[in-house]
């Protein structure tokens, strides 16, 4: 009735059930959009682009085929190239750019190693830092560290002394030998991406006041 019409909430109750329901649903939509400050309802999530989906599927398939490979099977990486080595040990070579070599003071140097899934129990690993023998072509052991690898993951080793001694050489190169138990195969992760390859973080102070931090 006209008298009820002036109450904003009274008019709706006077409608017949069908139109009343439509009016209430329209009221609900309008108040939600108004309070979310949206001019209209969003179109909903867009499916990812076909190209991105295919790339992701291809990468997943590649990972799965890698996983099918025997555990511990190494693939050549860029950071540490493998040299011919006895079945029990792996050699890693780290080269430093001339820019870092030119700097005089090594503030810190840390070797990062990511262990693949070791066998049951702790696995003993010997890490030797080798340096060229001034008297001949061979390498001498600058330091030796024994590690107990309990589980997969990153291990760090302070190699500051060895890296400091490199910068007397014409080509500063750090050689690391990893010796592992006979049946363990190779300790490093067989990961096709470089994210798990061994690397050395060095912080050096150059002659000029700014710092050089290289990975």
């Amino acid at each position: 009735a006209a008298k009820d019409a002036w109450c904003p909430a009274c008019g709706v109750a006077a409608l017949a059930p069908g139109p009343q329901r439509d009016a209430l649903l329209a009221l609900a939509k309008q108040s939600i959009l108004a309070k979310l400050r949206l001019p209209a309802r969003p179109s909903g999530p867009q499916p990812p682009a076909r190209g991105a989906l295919l790339t992701a599927l291809r990468r997943m398939r590649a990972q799965r085929s890698d996983a099918a490979a025997p555990p511990g099977m190494l693939r050549d990486g860029r950071v540490a190239s493998r040299r011919s080595s006895t079945p029990r040990s792996v050699h890693l070579h780290f080269r430093f750019s001339q820019e870092v070599a030119g700097s005089t003071e090594i503030l810190q140097a840390t070797l990062y190693l990511f262990w693949a899934a070791p066998g049951p129990g702790a696995q003993p690993v010997t890490v030797r830092l080798l340096q060229p023998d001034p008297a001949g072509p061979n390498m001498t052991v600058a330091s030796e560290t024994r590690l107990e690898v309990q589980r997969p993951g990153w291990t760090t080793l302070d190699v500051r002394a060895a890296v400091r001694s490199l910068f007397g050489q014409d080509i500063p190169r750090l050689t690391v030998e990893l010796e592992v138990p006979e049946d363990w195969g190779s300790p490093l992760l067989s990961d096709h991406s470089d994210s798990h390859w061994p690397f050395v973080v060095t912080q050096a102070r150059a002659r000029t006041p700014h710092r050089v931090h290289r990975r």
Partner: protein, 114 residues
């Protein structure tokens, strides 16, 4: 306040559920599936003016009788929400980001006469 039911014609709260699937909004509103909007309906005769709902005390009932007897300007009052709650939404915005927000005063909990 009181919930509408039976043949009461006085001011009360009417249950009303908005189902987002029914209005075709289920693709952009992740949670909830809908919400109890509810609304107020019913008569607010003069002597009921100004009291929240009809669950009045004895004191209010006597006061109302006096008001009714006073026959002042015969203008009814209005049946409106007296308590409301926010609605929490999880939804995709226009850039397909997932947003969680609380919209105030969206759910009517009780009604009364102005």
């Amino acid at each position: 306040g009181i919930d509408c039911g039976g043949d009461s014609r006085m001011c009360c709260r009417q249950e009303f559920f908005v189902d987002f699937k029914e209005i075709g909004w289920e693709d952009w509103i992740i949670q909830p599936d809908g919400y109890h909007m509810n609304y107020c309906a019913g008569l607010c005769p003069l002597h009921m003016a100004g009291v929240p709902g009809l669950a009045a005390s004895f004191h209010t009932a006597v006061l109302n009788r006096i008001k009714a007897a006073s026959a002042a300007a015969a203008v009814d009052s209005c049946c409106v929400p007296t308590q409301r709650r926010p609605l929490s939404l999880l939804y995709y915005d226009r850039d397909s980001n997932i947003v969680k927000t609380d919209i105030p005063d969206m759910i009517v909990d009780s009604c009364g006469c102005t």
